[in-house]
């Protein structure tokens, strides 16, 4: 049967493996490539790629939609408050009078 190593030993071995990492030499022509890249980036300047432009457009669109929605909601709530009827409006609309109350009272007294 295959012997299963102790977990604690495995953990310690893994932790100590960081110390065994050897320093690496830089890839060949690293300096030349870096200089070339620097020159290329200096030539490019600040240009926007189509992806970046698309992202900016999407953000602007999102902001516009949000502003429109907020405006719409706010104007809607203003309209609601204007339409909400007051007690006076209800009285004027239905014009309740005392006769209903009297009828009920007469009925009770008759009973």
């Amino acid at each position: 049967m295959e012997k299963i190593p102790n977990i604690e030993d495995q953990v310690n071995e893994a932790l100590s493996s960081a110390k065994k990492v050897q320093p690496v030499e830089v890839p060949a022509f690293f300096t030349d490539r870096t200089v070339n890249r620097l020159k290329a980036s200096a030539k490019e300047g600040y240009t926007f790629s189509p992806t970046v432009l698309l992202k900016i457009a999407a953000v602007i669109l999102l902001v516009c939609v949000n502003v429109y929605t907020i405006k719409y909601v706010l104007s809607g709530s203003k309209q609601d408050t204007a339409v909400t009827p007051s007690v006076k409006d209800i009285v004027n609309e239905y014009q309740p009078n005392d006769t209903i109350e009297l009828t009920i009272e007469t009925r009770i007294s008759n009973e």
Binding site: I4, V11, A14, P27
Partner: protein
């Protein structure tokens, strides 16, 4: 080493000074990058970007600080920006949960390529580096600088712009977290072997 580099020439945009600058610090910056991103191509790319950014912002460099420390800071930020971008891409692709970082299992990257790791140490080092990737950035930085770059507490404190006691705490927490993750990993792999 920094005495050989003429900052004023570098600031004036002299190409020869830039070449000298890359020659002087290229190896240490490349090694730092490869120990964080564990891939030769990515490390070379990030090391180059580090030098370009340093060159472009050399005017903001205060000569009271060490040039090497300043470069290390730029490189560390570049590496973690890159790793965050890579993780974000992977998360969106696999729709993994976003908030349980501690519970993330150790996942050995398919593109692991570190020429500084000798063959007999490769498997364990691969597991350790994969576990390191799931540590919080500051703990991973402290661990990499101490264990693989051979820096002392003072140098790490200067590079990370924290106190020495903070470095000690970061290293303590990094080791404890790594131990926990590795124990979990080995327990799981041992139980697989048993079955």
């Amino acid at each position: 080493m920094s005495a050989e580099i003429d900052i004023n020439e570098l600031k004036s945009g002299d190409e020869r000074a830039f070449r000298q600058f890359v020659d002087a610090y290229g190896k240490s910056i490349f090694n730092l990058c490869i120990n964080i991103v564990t891939n030769t191509e990515d490390a070379e790319d990030l090391a180059q970007e580090t030098f370009i950014e340093a060159y472009n912002s050399i005017t903001s460099f205060r000569e009271t600080a060490q040039l090497k420390t300043w470069l290390y800071r730029i490189a560390i930020n570049k590496c973690y920006d890159y790793l965050r971008w890579k993780k974000r891409k992977k998360r969106f692709a696999l729709l993994q949960p976003l908030f349980n970082r501690d519970e993330e299992p150790i996942e050995i990257p398919s593109n692991f390529q570190h020429p500084g790791i000798v063959l007999d140490n490769k498997e364990t080092a691969q597991i350790l580096f994969a576990a390191m990737e799931s540590l919080p950035d500051n703990q991973q930085t402290a661990f990499v600088l101490y264990e693989t770059q051979g820096m002392d507490y003072k140098q790490i404190a200067e590079t990370m712009n924290v106190s020495i006691s903070a470095v000690e705490a970061l290293l303590f927490r990094a080791r404890a977290n790594l131990r926990k993750k590795l124990e979990k990993y080995y327990t799981k792999s041992t139980s697989y072997k048993k079955h």
